[in-house]
């Protein structure tokens, strides 16, 4: 569905090149994330800045993507647009993930 990956220090940055993560794309997204995160990176930051819409299936796929990382690895989210952030907030998933306004902010914050 269009993911690309870069390493910045110890952090792997995965960028989504798609304007929505919805029911039509959720399974593909989860599988593509599984392939992209077959790395040793302890921290993965998912850049969602191009994503204009997410539904509950897309949200579930992002949760699944975090759960399929091994112990001790974490998935942080960056660049959430207001509508995307709202879906995380209303489902309380904003308490599960660390959300960053931008990729720069996520990189600057480091792993802790």
């Amino acid at each position: 569905m269009g993911l690309s990956s870069d390493m910045t220090g110890e952090t792997q940055i995965i960028s989504v090149h798609c304007d929505r993560i919805d029911a039509a794309l959720a399974i593909q997204f989860k599988e593509d994330m599984r392939a992209e995160t077959r790395t040793d990176a302890k921290r993965v930051v998912l850049d969602l800045s191009t994503v204009e819409f997410i539904d509950s299936s897309g949200l579930g796929a992002i949760v699944a993507a975090m759960k399929q990382l091994e112990d001790g690895r974490r998935l942080d989210l960056a660049g959430l647009r207001p509508i995307v952030e709202k879906v995380f907030r209303l489902t309380r998933m904003d308490t599960v993930f660390r959300l960053f306004a931008s990729l720069d902010e996520a990189i600057g914050a480091g792993a802790d």
Binding site: S56, V63, A64, M66, I83, K86, L90
Partner: protein, 149 residues
């Protein structure tokens, strides 16, 4: 509905597939914006509408040949009513699911990956009505807002 409600071009119908649903929601969102749906409500409507339509695709038409989903909107003073009709299976117990959210205060591996849809719809709408009528489902979502459309 009052006479100052807008119905023009706010009705759409499309085959109940995920891909068609994505297009249908985008089309309707754009038309509602053009007809004056307050920007502050646009995101709420888009999220709730997507969840309601997903439910029809995934549940009402599960295991059957997908038929159409019909959506009729009425944008009035301070409220938007969206009526979603399908000819699929009824909702379990003929009632709107409560939308209780599974706890997220849990171990990572126990986090819920679903069950968010009705929770979102309940939180974003002012009222939800469901009726089984003539072998089909009729779901009405109402959104109240302060600004005039």
């Amino acid at each position: 509905m009052g006479s100052n409600c807008k119905h023009d071009c706010l009705d759409v119908s499309f085959p109940a597939t995920q891909a068609q649903a994505s297009v249908g929601i985008a089309t309707l969102s754009a038309r509602l914006a053009a007809h004056g749906l307050p920007e502050s409500k646009a995101d709420d409507v888009k999220i709730a509408l997507a969840e309601a339509i997903n439910n029809v695709v995934e549940h009402a038409y599960a295991g059957t040949a997908p038929a159409d989903i019909q959506i009729d909107c009425s944008l009035c003073e301070k409220k938007l009513v969206i009526q979603i009709s399908d000819t699929g299976s009824p909702m379990p117990g003929l009632r709107v699911p409560s939308g209780l959210l599974a706890s997220v205060d849990t171990a990572l591996q126990d986090l819920p990956e679903g069950g968010f849809g009705w929770h979102l719809i309940h939180q974003l709408t002012s009222d939800i009505q469901y009726e089984r009528r003539g072998g089909g489902n009729l779901l009405c979502l109402r959104f109240d807002f302060d600004e005039m459309p």
